[in-house]
Amino acid sequence: MNKTITIAHGNGGEENNELIKKIFYKHFENEILSKSEDAAVIHNGELAFTTDSFTVSPLFFPGGDIGKLAVCGTCNDLAMMGAKPKYLTCSVIIEEGFSTRELEKIVRSMKKELEINGAMVVSGDTKVVPKGSVDKLFINTTGIGEIEHTGISSSNLQEGMSILISRDVGAHGATIFAAREGIMLESSLQTDCASLYPQVKALMDAGIRIVAMRDATRGGVAAVLNEWAKGSEVCIEIDEEKIPVAEEVRGICEMLGFEAVNLANEGTFVLTVNKEDEAKALKVLKHNNENAQIIGTVTRQHDGKVILNSSWGTKRFLDLPTGELLPRIC
């Protein structure tokens, strides 16, 4: 492991995993933490509990802002454990000189998103630090939710189960790249940032037995699938052409040498269900977004690995993203 922390250690991929395992898990180890789910299941399985910090730059981007992200991110982690988001804390670290008008705009955006989830902020903290100590504004939110669907886990996947995706992938990552200074890219891209609880509720109301569910944030769909393949010691086979990717996202990926499956999402989730539930689950997901798709199956071909099948009959592994997400140069 490196002697110093680099940006790559926060990539949601391999370096990030190494840092968490070798430092945090090593010292904090306990039965709940070691399950490494989106949210911890506590209080006799009744509650889900999670935390997340938001450091996005720029703070405002097409389709969202850091406030919306801070509520969606934490509520979605709860929703992914089959829990209804209930109570959040909100902790902000503000750089001196930050505009109060922008701060209020961000908080208003948080309020709107809390309403969609039916959740509320019940505690908080504010710190102001000297200029240069943080990049404008960081937000941490911690959330508690009531579990409504039990038994969701990344270690439950079995041969024959179906893998679904709730919409096209990579929109958030591509939007942030396009919005960054220096790229000068004109596009109509919008982040996918959205609260997922309403969709989860619709799945539960339709009587679908959810085996595993995870929002594909940092590290993208590739990270989720790899975690599941390893967590359940199975192989996940994906049909590459079935992964929905918006044309503009594909364009950015081609230009900068990224893969859409590695890009971050903030309102897209991957779902595992039993084969007999796949059609019904797809129907529910399509009701929210017509790009929802069944993308693959759980097999035993290469346990612990994710395989991408191309439309022309070749196969390759889909690995965890590594390093800082940088454009290829040749």
Partner: protein, 383 residues
Amino acid sequence: MAGLELNNLYDDFRDGKTLQAYARIIAEDAAKLERPINIMEVCGGHTHSIMKFGIPQMMPENVNFIHGPGCPVCIMPKERIDHAYVLAMQPDVILVTLGDMIKVPGSNGSLQDARAKGADVRFVYSPMECIKIAQENPEKKVIFFAIGFETTTPMTAVLLDQVIKQNITNILFHINHVTVPEVMVELIDSRDIHVDSYNNKIDAFLGPSHVSVIAGSKIYEKFPKDYGRPVVVSGFEPVDVMEGISMIVKQFVEKRCELEIQYKRVVTYEGNLNAQKLIETYFDKVDLFRWRGLGNVPESGLKLKDGYAKYDAEVIYRDVLPIAEIEDHKLCICGDILRGMAKPPECTIFGTACKPTTPIGSCMVSSEGACAAYYKYGNLITS
């Protein structure tokens, strides 16, 4: 890029049916070959495409790929990376470079590590962004650590041209541009007295299209003529690569040995003459450039002409830049891989001590490198 529409420009070049059709044509032609052939794709971009799209799985047994030295990040010797590191650590310097370069480990660490220690290291998508950085930081020196083959050299030349025309005084250059044909010659006809024979297995070359967009296909003329190796200049999409391979196989079946262009939609024999002129204005060939894993290759690198020494960071900072050459790790066989004599899995540290997160050899460093492509896309599935 403003105004560029990101419509889907490449679907046809990834069409499954077209790819399968090419696979059939290649198999039919390859059945007529008298012996197996080894095609070297010179460029890391091709290696990446070939692995990503699983093209080796579509090849008959007697058509093999060997991977060339065409990744500008992979071939950068450690002492040059140490230059970048030392420059980045200078007070009042902003070191600017392209993408993957910031991940490459030198003897003190990578530019990423330098940044974690407080150095101002930035990566840009276009060298022209240096002008804005220089204008916003008039009290600092912006050093552009320039890397890449014929493809990226004109961008550096345009930046220098603008720096001179706009009389910008705080941009310097550290030039590491290298050229493709010279290293191809090295691979089949080494002039290094320390190497008896490469015993190379290269039968033909797949030439990278983007290099020839600038330099023309003419740069490869000597390979069929003087060295008996056909060259097909090919694009990077899977259909382009498959057509390029098919053209090479056909040449062997028909007993021809020629320079051909698959990527006719952009590449011409002459190339971009304006870009070539601009490069000639500002750059000279260096006598020797040391390639990581390959050693010294005559006339394979560029430097700023003497008249532009005041823009040359290697001249301005010569007192602080290290000069000793640094050898690669003993167990690393990158040299053999870059010469097409070995494949990544043959290396004892491949995927164990040497991984993309902890690269030891040059081929694992950049995503364009042969080892990184094998590791990432796992050619294991075919074996």
